[in-house]
Symmetry: C2
C-alpha cells in the first residue's frame, strides 16, 4: 500500500474504497488527501521526525470519530491521532510507510459544559490549552497546568501524553486534573466516563488506561477537567544556594512553611543563568553575586489567603536565612518583577539551544536522590566524553530535571547527535534506571524513546502494558510504532 | 473437586499433590487445612457470605506469594486474597465450591522503608491501618484515611478496594495516597513499582489496574503511601440547615472560605440524629433546636496555620450566618467537644441497625445533584413501599451518601431483606444510574453488587474491564466470582 501524497504510486482497490468511504463520511471539511494540506502535520514540532499519511481526517464530533475508527477497523487501516502537534517525543507523527491515516482532533473544540460553582469544565479534545486558560480566567478560575506550547497544545494531546509543566508540585500532572473522560476504542465503541463522580468504586479506574497512553489504546475525544480558584496574589522568590543538596533542604523548608501555597520550585545552575543572560540582553540577574545553584520559588494565595501571603513569605525566607539554607534571596515586589524572574526560567531552553548542539533528557529520580544524582553523574559524563558539559535544571520539587549534555565545539552538530550524542543518551538512561528513576518524566515515549523503553523498562511492567494493549487493540491499529 | 474442610469428601490426586507442594513451600506457619483455623476467615464481617476453601495460605514474603501463585497457576487453582476480612461487599470470601485457596496477607506486616522527611512509607500488604496511623503519628505525621474497621483493615485490602472514609473530601480515597505498588501477577511474576516517582511518563499509570480491582488482576503485596503533616489543631463545627440543598450551599461557602483546610463535610437528617441519641444515652444534641439536616464540618491546620485557624472558622461561620446559609451552629471549643460531635457521626450505622432491618446502599451522584437526588427519590421509595423510611447520610462533600431504606415493622427481617429489600435495592440502583451516579461509591462490588454491575454498568466500560481482566488473568483464577 502506498500513500496518496505520492501521486506517482499506484493505489490498491481496497485503499481507494476506504478513502472514498471516509471522504463520504466526513465531507470535504473533514477529509483531505491534498499533499499541501497534509504537509504541515507530517513533521513534529521539534523537527526530528517526518512521516507520510494516507489522508488527513478531521472529524467534528465524537460520532464522526467513532464511525471513522470503525471504518478503519473494518479496512485494517492504522490511525495516528494528533492534537496540536506540539509533543516532545514524536508521538503524533506517522511513520514513513504512508499507510496510516492521520486523525486530527483540532475541529473538536466545543465546551460541552462549564460548571463554575463546581469548578469543572467539560471540553472536547481539540480545545486549545490557552483558550482553556482564558475561558477559566473569564469566570474567576484557572486551569493549573501550563507549558510552552500552550498556544497549540490541545486537551486531547495533553491527556494522551499526561503533560506536566511547572505547577505539578502542587496540582499534579494532567492525570490529576482529569475528572472524566470520553474516548473512542479501537473498534469504534465510545467509552464514556465524562460525569465526574468524586467517589466511584466500580472496579479499577478505567479512564487511567487512556491517560498517558499516547493514542495507543484509543482516541480521547472529550474530558471533564478540574479547575482551581484564580490566584489573588503571588510572590516569586529567587534564591541562591551553594549546592543542589542545599536547594533540596530549602524545598523541604518551604514545603513545611508554605504548605499547599507552594506552587513552584525550579532550579538552575549558575551556567544556565549566564546562558539566559547572554540570550536575553535586557534581562538582569535577580541576585548580585554568583551561586552554585539558583532557585525560583512561587507561592500563591487565592482570595482567602492573599492578605497574609507576603508576610508568610517574609517569615519563611527569614527562617531559611537563619537556618543557613541559602546564600541570598530576592522577593518580587510586584507582578512585573515576578514575570521577569519567570522569563529567565522560561528562556533556559532557547538559551541552551543557542549555545550549540546538545542531547536532552527528561528524567526523574526520587526527589530526595536528585541532588546526589546530578552531582554524581554530571562529572562522570564530562570525564567520559571530554569537552561535553552536563547541565540539569527544572522541576526539583517533582524530582524531575531536564538534563542536557552540550557537545564540545564540533563542526557537525547533527552527526554528533546521531553518533556520540546517542551513546551519551544511552549512558544517561542507564544511570537513571540504576538510580530507580524514569527515562521519561513528562515528555512521554513516542517514537523518541520507544527503543530505550523496550531496552530498560521493567520486563514485568512491559508485559502488563503489552497485555493491556493486546486486549484493547489486538490488530495494533492505534498509533502504531509509538510507546510499545 | 471438594474441600478438605469437608472431611467426608474424597480428594482428587491432583489436588492432594497441590496441597502437598503448597504445604512444603510455605511450612506449617504459612499453610493449613485445619477447619478450625480456616473457619473464622470463611465468613465476611457483615455475616452475609460464608464460603469454603481448599486451605489457608499465609505467605510471609513477596517471594513466597509469587511462588505460591505460580504453583496455583500450574495446577489451575483459584485464589481468593484476603486482608483484614473487613470488606463491605464480600470481596474476600470464597464461594462454596471449596475449590479455591484462601490467601491471607496478614503475615506480611513489614515496614520496608519510612522516609519521614519525604513523608512516605513503604509497607507490606498485611500492615494494619491502625498500626499505620500509630507509626505515622510517632513521627509527627499522619495517614489521612480512616474508617470503622481500622483495627483489622490492611493496606493491601484498602488498596484492592480503593477504600474511602471521612477525609476523602480533602485527601482523596486510597487511590490518591498510593505512590508506589508491588503486586504478584496471576502468572506469579512480581510487578514492582514501589519507587515513588512524582513524575513518570512511560505509558499509562499501570499501578491503577490493581487499585480497586478487588484482587481480580493480581495480589497487592506492598505499597508506598503518602503521609501528611500531623494536625496541629482542628475545629469541628456542627450546623443546622433546613434542607440538603442549603447544606450544599454551605459546603460551597466553606470550600471557598477554608480552602484546603476543609477536611470533612458530613450530613445527616434530623431522624438520624434522633436515632443516634436514642442509641447513645450519654450523647447530647449539639444544637438546641430541630433542623431538617445537620452538618458536621471539620477544619484542620498543620503547624503553620494553627494560630489563625479558630479565627478563620469564626469568620467563615459569621459570613455563613449573614448569608443565611444555616439556622444554627456550634463550634468545638476543645478536643473533647470535637470528639463528641464525631461520635454522633460514627454511631449512625449501629444506631440505624438497632432500629430494625433495612437495606443499605453506598451510592454517589455528581455532588451538585445530591440534594435533588435525595429529596426526589426518598418520597418515591416511601410511596412505592408504604411503611418504609428512606434515610441518607454521610459524605456530602464527595457526592456520596449512604442511603438506607428501613423496613416497615415486619416479623421476619431476613425474609424482607431477601424479597422486598432486594426489589428496593434494584429500584435505588436504577435511580442512581438514571442520575448519572455510581452504585458503589466506596464499598466496592465484591459479590454483593456483581449482578447489579453487570445489569447496570455501561456496556462499553464493562467490555474494557473484561478485556483487561482477560488479558491479565485469562484462566480466571484470581478471586473468581468477584467484581466481573
Amino acid at each position: 500500500m502506498t500513500t496518496l501524497n505520492d501521486s506517482s504510486a499506484p493505489q490498491s482497490a481496497a485503499t481507494t474504497r476506504f478513502l472514498e468511504e471516509a471522504a463520504e463520511l466526513l465531507g470535504p471539511r473533514g477529509f483531505t488527501v491534498d499533499p499541501d494540506l497534509l504537509e504541515p502535520w507530517l513533521t513534529d514540532w521539534r523537527g526530528r521526525y517526518t512521516g507520510k499519511a494516507l489522508a488527513l481526517a478531521s472529524p467534528a464530533t465524537t460520532q464522526e470519530v467513532a464511525a471513522l475508527v470503525a471504518l478503519c477497523a473494518q479496512h485494517g487501516i492504522a490511525i495516528v491521532p494528533q492534537g496540536g502537534n506540539s509533543g516532545m517525543s514524536g508521538g503524533a507523527t506517522p511513520d514513513d510507510s504512508g499507510e496510516a491515516l492521520l486523525l486530527s482532533l483540532r475541529r473538536m473544540t466545543a465546551v460541552r459544559q462549564f460548571d463554575v460553582e463546581a469548578r469543572q469544565i467539560t471540553c472536547e479534545a481539540g480545545f486549545v490549552l490557552q483558550t482553556l486558560h482564558e475561558t477559566a480566567e473569564a469566570r474567576g478560575l484557572r486551569f493549573p497546568l501550563s507549558l510552552g506550547g500552550k498556544g497549540s497544545a490541545t486537551v486531547g494531546g495533553l491527556i494522551a501524553t499526561n503533560a506536566g509543566g511547572t505547577q505539578v508540585l502542587r496540582h499534579g500532572s494532567m492525570r490529576a486534573l482529569v475528572l472524566g473522560l470520553e474516548a473512542v476504542l479501537p473498534d469504534g465503541q465510545v467509552f464514556s466516563m465524562l460525569t465526574p463522580l468524586k467517589k466511584d468504586n466500580r472496579g479499577f479506574d478505567l479512564k487511567q488506561v487512556f491517560i498517558g497512553s499516547e493514542g495507543t489504546m484509543g482516541i480521547v475525544t472529550a474530558a471533564t477537567l478540574a479547575l482551581s480558584p484564580a490566584v489573588a496574589e503571588r510572590v516569586v522568590i529567587w534564591a541562591g544556594v551553594p549546592t543542589l543538596g542545599m536547594a533540596r533542604k530549602l524545598l523541604l523548608h518551604c514545603e513545611a512553611a508554605a504548605g499547599d501555597a507552594l506552587e513552584g520550585f525550579e532550579v538552575l545552575p549558575q551556567a544556565c543563568l549566564e546562558a539566559v543572560l547572554d540570550y536575553l540582553p535586557d534581562a538582569r540577574a535577580p541576585l548580585e553575586g554568583k551561586h552554585g545553584w539558583h532557585v525560583l520559588i512561587e507561592v500563591v494565595a487565592d482570595r482567602t489567603g492573599a492578605d497574609t501571603l507576603r508576610e508568610r513569605c517574609e517569615t519563611m525566607m527569614a527562617d531559611a536565612f537563619e537556618a543557613e539554607l541559602l546564600e541570598d534571596a530576592a522577593m518580587s515586589a510586584n507582578e512585573a518583577q515576578a514575570e521577569a524572574m519567570w522569563l529567565i526560567r522560561e528562556s533556559i531552553s532557547p538559551a541552551e539551544r543557542a549555545r550549540g548542539p546538545a542531547v536532552q533528557h527528561d528524567i526523574s529520580v526520587p526527589v530526595d536522590k536528585m541532588p546526589d544524582f546530578v552531582e554524581t553523574t554530571a562529572p562522570m559524563i564530562e570525564a567520559k566524553w571530554p569537552g561535553t558539559e552536563a547541565i540539569a535544571f527544572g522541576h526539583l520539587g517533582d524530582g524531575n530535571v531536564h538534563y542536557h549534555v552540550i557537545a564540545p565545539s564540533v563542526t557537525d552538530g547533527a552527526a554528533w547527535q546521531a553518533g556520540t550524542g546517542k551513546e551519551i543518551s544511552r549512558y544517561v538512561h542507564d544511570l537513571v534506571t540504576e538510580w530507580g528513576g524514569s527515562i521519561s518524566a513528562e515528555h512521554g515515549i513516542g517514537q523518541l524513546k520507544k527503543d530505550e523503553l523496550a531496552r530498560l523498562g521493567d520486563p514485568v511492567a512491559l508485559s502488563v502494558l503489552r497485555a493491556v494493549k493486546q486486549a484493547l487493540d489486538p490488530r495494533g491499529l492505534m498509533n502504531p510504532g509509538k510507546l510499545i
